[in-house]
Subunit: 136 residues, 2 copies
Amino acid sequence: MTLTADQKRRRAQQDYNGGLGLCPARQLLETISSKWVTLVMLALSDGSLRHSELRRQVAGASQKMLTSTLRSLERDGLVSRTVTSSVPVRTDYQLTPVGHSLLDVVYRLKGWAEDNMDDVAHARMAYDRGRLTRVE
Amino acid sequence: MTLTADQKRRRAQQDYNGGLGLCPARQLLETISSKWVTLVMLALSDGSLRHSELRRQVAGASQKMLTSTLRSLERDGLVSRTVTSSVPVRTDYQLTPVGHSLLDVVYRLKGWAEDNMDDVAHARMAYDRGRLTRVE
DNA sequence: CTGTATCCTCTAAGATACTG
DNA sequence: CAGTATCTTAGAGGATACAG
């Protein structure tokens, strides 16, 4: 059986989605690139916080996003959640050891970014300038 | 002037989008979490490749995505593009030094993922199991 | 206080077809 | 060979209202 290049590509696409898509590194990228994940983890870096405290500290996140971010972090075992059934309810969140180790990795990312994003920004400007002069 | 909590949150949202949204680390995350960026960079890690070679090596990427990924990498100065105006045209791509240094960071990410994503996967299963028994 | 549930919007990614 | 142009779609993120 002979496959066209296009068919091969589509099959590869399947492979990607079912195989590489499950690759650990890919999953990690998807986790930490979620909009609020790093900010929440950062907020929790020096201790546990209540939901309302997080809300204040990670200002800008809607309640829905804060909750869903926390849920996914909890699900991944990066954050632990402690509910105190008083009235009113009290909920505390804190990084697990795994969560802390991930935060270390995030700091490395941050380090590279701070060291190099200036260059990147300049490259972008140069590139865009080139495009403009060619277009106008 | 007094702001409601909601007004404060919305202002914070603005601040985020106009301020933190421009934070280097955030930009970096957005770059490398784009679906094909890491795969393309990986493919280019041991030398330059032509467009068609990349197409074969990064199987699964549509032509559009491959091109647009390459464009954004070029714009950021992570990849350089060399066009040879023969017939037919020949285009070669290779990582710049900055691109290589970013690849190093990506390898760190990959390392953490390989070391910890097992734990994460187990945490997920445990979490989901809990949810299920509660729901059923 | 801590959350769900609903609806809406916007954009990354993909399918497809065409050009120098 | 290398690339652009257009259309479509799935899902992340956000606004709002309600509930234990």
